[in-house]
């Protein structure tokens, strides 16, 4: 059942006092837990939990022809599936908007930040390049799937290794990973979504809070301060002051989130 209106009123009331139902501050994330290499079949993988929200992300590689307009660059494709398994609200069938948006948000974050170095994924110009697939699956939705997916994608990519490529037979030897890491840049892209509920701004909403979110802004940036993707969602308008505030919150939170996952990026 969606968050009831009267509970929503209480949530707003409490937020105005600087508190949340689970005791967190407005700019505090729930506990983030990460497992790397959860899949024996993916070339890179991660399971990320933020509170009870859980996603798993896998990185798979293949070798194909490059796109005609980028003959010396590898390919990137990010797909996300909101599994019906993970929530009574997700229906079986072709991906609907939330899944598509999530995939595209993560795609833009990885692509625009140039985190994945596509130019280093060329095998033979015009003929053969590495294709990188990042597949995101929700396992339990308790709010803030977007940020969890972002972390999962970045960690899975950072820890991914190239599989052996049999040049002679033009086949990938899956199951045999080389020691070569998938080329990524030093600057780590972190995605943080900030929500406006009533007069307050929060990060990392639980599902209960997400139900009463009036406007949200997803910002991808590095801790060094570059921003490379922004998306505003939900139906209420934001003033310039509010957006500026959300940019500040996003920057602060990004640094905190980064420090909690730093150890997995070595």
């Amino acid at each position: 059942m969606k968050t009831t209106r009267i509970t929503g009123e209480r949530i707003k009331e409490y937020l105005e006092k600087g508190k949340r139902f689970d005791g967190r501050n407005l700019e505090e994330f729930r506990e983030i837990s990460v497992e790397i290499g959860v899949s024996k079949k993916a070339e890179g993988s991660a399971r990320v939990k933020i509170g009870k929200t859980e996603v798993i992300v896998g990185v798979k590689l293949d070798v194909k022809e490059p796109y005609p307009d980028s003959p010396n660059k590898g390919n990137l494709m990010v797909t996300s599936e909101l599994l019906p398994l993970s929530s009574g609200r997700f229906e079986y069938g072709p991906p609907r908007f939330p899944a598509i948006e999530l995939g595209r948000l993560i795609d833009r974050a990885i692509r625009e930040s140039k985190f994945l170095q596509l130019e280093k994924l060329c095998i033979k110009e015009g003929e053969k390049v590495w294709g990188v697939f990042i597949d995101i699956y929700s396992i339990n939705d308790d709010g803030n799937l977007i940020d969890a997916a972002g972390l999962g994608a970045v960690i899975a990519l950072k820890t991914a290794k190239l599989p052996e490529y049999d040049e002679k037979n033009e086949k990938i030897v899956y199951g045999k990973l080389t020691n070569k890491k998938v080329p990524v840049s030093k600057e780590i892209p972190i995605i943080v979504t900030t929500h406006k509920i009533g007069k307050s701004m929060i990060v990392d909403p639980t599902l209960e809070e997400e139900d009463v979110s009036e406007a949200r802004i997803t910002i991808g940036g590095t801790i060094e301060g570059s921003l490379f993707s922004i998306q505003k969602g939900n139906s209420k308008e934001l003033t310039i002051e509010e957006i500026k505030k959300m940019l500040d919150i996003s920057e602060k939170t990004r640094k905190k989130v980064f420090s909690s996952i730093e150890k997995y990026l070595k």
Binding site: T79, P84, L85, Y92, D135, Y137
Partner: protein
């Protein structure tokens, strides 16, 4: 002429399953959920329901409907699977329904549906069996009235040798008569709710294989039972 001293590639005895893992409650949002694995083959299942069946024209006024959906995630195998249903997953979804339905007591849920979602996180053969085992636990965990919990295992024949719980290497066995795959699901009383055959086998060996499955499913049942019991502290 099966020989009990047949050497399996991973060193297992002919009647030995891979190490099994079972756990319930792995998806907090679901009404019931479970994980089950045979070695590297990992399946999770989540149950939502009973709830009103939509679309309305699929409602059955006489009893509840079980609806299973099986799917493998893209990186569960070496060669990435394009997301979305396939003919194989559609067939296995139906097989899963048929294997579980005889156990359910859902006459009292007219016009309602029980959705069971099975996802294979990692595949090393016997995925449908792992999925059925997880689904059976998840249904019990969800409080669905049931006669019993079914258990599923794949019986294989490698050349002339019967084995239990095929892995991928064995599924691809090419020596002699090659590989035959027989997934079977049984109730604790030995009733068969699902059986398929893929390969080549004599009637006598098949009967022997079914007996092997009986023994194996008893062991699997104990694993499922323990997972359900362990999840509640008293």
């Amino acid at each position: 002429m099966a020989t009990k001293t047949f050497k399996r590639p991973d060193g297992r005895k002919v009647d030995e399953t891979r190490p099994m893992q079972a756990k319930v409650g792995v998806v907090p949002n679901a009404d019931g959920s479970a994980l089950f694995s045979f070695g590297d083959t990992i399946a999770i299942a989540a149950v939502y329901g009973p709830k009103k069946m939509h679309p309305q024209h699929q409602q059955d006024p006489e009893k509840g409907t079980l609806r299973c959906r099986y799917n493998m995630i893209s990186f569960s195998v070496d060669d990435r699977i394009r997301p979305g249903p396939s003919r194989r997953s559609t067939e296995i979804s139906k097989i899963t329904e048929w294997s579980l339905e005889p156990s359910l007591l859902i006459k009292n849920y007219p016009n309602m549906v029980i959705d069971v979602h099975v996802n294979i996180l990692q595949a090393n053969a016997s995925t449908r069996c792992a999925g059925i085992n997880a689904a059976a636990m998840a249904l019990a965990h969800a409080g669905i009235p049931m006669k019993n919990i079914v258990s599923s295992v794949s019986i294989g024949k490698l050349d002339k040798n019967l084995v239990v719980d095929l892995n991928k290497d064995e599924e691809d066995w090419e020596e002699g008569e090659g590989s035959t795959d027989i997934p079977i699901t049984m109730t604790p009383n030995g009733e068969i709710t699902h059986i398929q055959l893929d390969g080549r086998i004599t009637k006598e060996q098949l009967k022997e294989g079914i007996e092997l499955a009986r023994k194996s499913t008893k062991e699997i049942y104990e694993v499922q039972k323990k997972a359900l019991k362990d999840s509640i502290k008293t």
